[in-house]
Chain length 237, copies 2
């Protein structure tokens, strides 16, 4: 096999489902805000971009629409989701319900290996915060979400893990749309506090910290409707 034709770092998923690989790349792009909310994702365009037929592109878009990252309208196509303020509130309400429980579960399952993984993650997170520029900013957003995903994986419930994947991804969209400041700098210290509680096995404390953390993230949003929902709808594309 030729090495040159593996142009992308997606080499590990070469053998796997191509639709899944495309979904992952698109999801990353959405979460990273390289694709703005409302952007049209036509089947043909995605297909040619990834060099597959519309069949495969369509499957990838369907997956993303299940995750709520993409909204599809019949006979019109797929668009990067444009969550309403109400939707945003529901995303965070769901996280408030689920994540404290995940923190408790994770606290009871922490191993030294997990701690090391968290340390690595938080270091990286810190690095991106220190850096400047839009690219570092994107990486920072992603890293911040990865902390929560790592926690979910430690909790050891694959169903909840998948729910969290969806919620974290949608949160990125919401923050992109309604975020006010860089919440991340204060988020970083909260992540470190949570890790500390997890290390000590103080599940209650970890849970409480997590709840407050989510509250802080949501508090940084400006969920007032700007110019009325009708206007927003009209301008969404």
């Amino acid at each position: 096999m030729n090495i040159a034709d593996q142009t992308f770092p997606a080499a590990d998923s070469a053998n796997e489902d191509r639709a899944q690989a495309i979904r992952d790349q698109l999801r990353d792009a959405i979460v990273d805000r390289r694709l703005a909310p409302g952007t049209k994702l036509s089947e043909g365009e995605v297909g040619t971009l990834f060099d597959v037929s519309r069949t495969v592109a369509r499957a990838a878009l369907q997956m993303l629409s299940f995750e709520g990252l993409v909204r599809t309208e019949r006979n019109r196509g797929a668009f990067v989701a444009n969550p309403s303020p109400e939707e945003a509130r529901q995303v965070f309400a769901s996280r408030r319900l689920i994540e404290p429980g995940i923190a408790i579960a994770a606290a009871g399952r922490m191993t030294p290996a997990h701690v090391a993984a968290f340390k690595t993650q938080l270091e990286e997170e810190g690095r991106f915060i220190a850096e400047r520029g839009p690219s570092a900013r994107r990486s920072e957003i992603k890293a911040s979400g990865d902390f929560h995903l790592l926690l979910a994986s430690v909790a050891g419930n694959v169903i909840l893990q998948r729910f969290m994947e969806e919620l974290v991804a949608r949160s990125s969209l919401v923050i992109a749309l309604y975020g006010r400041s860089g919440v991340s700098s204060c988020g970083h210290s909260e992540h470190m506090q949570i890790l500390e509680a997890l290390e000590n096995g103080s599940s209650e404390r970890a849970s409480a910290l997590m709840l407050r953390h989510i509250d802080h993230i949501e508090a940084d949003l400006d969920l007032r409707v700007r110019g009325g929902p009708a206007l927003r709808q009209a301008l969404e594309l």
Copy 2:
């Protein structure tokens, strides 16, 4: 297998997505246990059964696989999911985490109309319990799940509602596989207790009752591995 033998009403799902309609019918069949866990669902068979092409059938199966009701293996096809005991535990762990919170949210939003809907639902549930025969039994299982789905819809968070739809459906599968007795008769009275708490707006009580209710359902399961997981795996088809 005769799933699609219900003469198509085609009323509500006529101009909607056909794949979605097929998914709904298949899901009902799985939840009702008309399709046993492990049953193969070949694209061609589903397609001819519903009189659509494999393309559409495939889309429906993909949706179900996202919901965890169907497991797809590359180049082998789709099968009705056969959840492992571990998976079963995770389903109920997820419900224990989410449903008490849903009960609290619903308690704060109950209207007379909601109460009436619950009353109707519980009546129906009781009717099926009184009846005998496998058909009534199936309806009973479905009705029992509908109580939880109704609650989720009252809570008013569409994200959590979707999560609950998935969890309730998967619970049916789990109960089909590992259920011991008819849990439903005692479940019915617990449902009524929960409704009572909801009517009074005692959210804490509703939440606590819900938690106990889930515990009871899970306690009725026999999650010991029967004959080792290897054997089960081997015989799953």
